[in-house]
Amino acid sequence: DPVPARQQQLLHLLRDDCGACHGMTLKGGLGLPLTPEALRDKDDAGLLHTILDGRPGTPMPPWRPFLSEDEARWLVSQLKRGLPAPGK
């Protein structure tokens, strides 16, 4: 797992920068919802791939320049688990 300081940064990124398209509450916007319910039946590897390399033909960009695989994997696990309330 990323170190706690990096985890905080990743959570911040998730809410703010992913949230720009997926909504701060991750209930969706231009991008699909990223709530545990919405992702429950989706394959971890597919989600990991989407985060790192984006989805061609859609606005979903590749985050590889900014995230390591481990960090992206951690994000997937967080998304599937549900996020702590903002500010924590």
Partner: protein
Amino acid sequence: PATPVPPPSVLRGTGDLGLIIERATGSVQIVEHSGDSALGRVTGLGDLSHAAAVFSRDGRYAYVFGRDGGLTKIDLLTRVIVKRVIQAGNSIGGAISTDGRIVAAQNYEPGGVKLFDADTLELLSEVSTKDEATGTASKVVGLADLPGNRFAFSLFEAGAIWVMDASDPRAPKVTQYPNIGKQPYDGLGSMNGRYYIAGLYGEDGLALLDLWKPEQGVRRILNGYGRGADPLPVYKMPHLRGWAVSDGRAFFPAIGHNSVVVADTQTWKEVTQVPVAGQPVFAMVSPDGRRVWVNFAFPNNDTVQVIDVPTLAVVQTMKPCKGVLHFEFAPRGEEVWLSCRDENRVEVYDTQTFVRKTTLPADSPSGIFFTWRAARIGL
């Protein structure tokens, strides 16, 4: 010595009021730009992790469109919520009609456009964007008001522009313009509502509808402005908002390219592309038409650049703060307000000297909207 500022009171003019969206706390700050100060905070607006606002024609009420589909009417004078309805599952913004009597909301979930009575927020009618064949309702983007109580908007999935005549808001009439290009992501009414222009995510170029000559239909302009180069990944979508036209030129943020595309408004051909510091999100002309201000997507969202219209050159690069999500000019343009989401403040800059005038505390600010919008077409 400075004359003491009299105490702020409820009895005041509304022409200098506005609001700052506090996206993380579900609140808005009511502000005024005569003295650049905050008057109070209104809470209870729900999920504002994307919010836009329009104003009643007297400038007293703001209609805030929240991400959660909440449409909230706020009294800027008494700073209370007058009425709030949840009108959709996921909304992205809206517009108000020429006469100020109809508020239109554009939705991502379940798509479509809804018309509300501006006074009571009573639902008047709903225009569905559901495609009978696929069962998918298109997300609606780029809703802009046009003269004559009309609205234009774009359908993201369907790749279409629709123009709605809401003269009878309970039975609006829709004219559809299909196949305008892939994935329009936003649109604006330009030149006082003469042109409706939609930006395309799925391909280089924009779609333009001349509402003085609707029979000509939608025309594609600025095709191939990427010059065949692979588009960069988009980390935050551009927005087509604000005045985009000055000196016979129109200025558009390029999708997937670090540039602002300049077009001639007579021919709509590309004049040039101005290289900028990142992917532009908003490219807005100041009220005097002299300059275009630009902010950027992640990771350059700490930067703002200023393009000089006569020379089409970047004359100023600033790093005001982290997370500049939006900016708004005072009506005559002598100052611009920048929201600094990651630093919980709003910075007010003098547009002539680029000197910071004031800093206002705000929780995760995003959109900034002033009541002068009430008197403008297409904003």
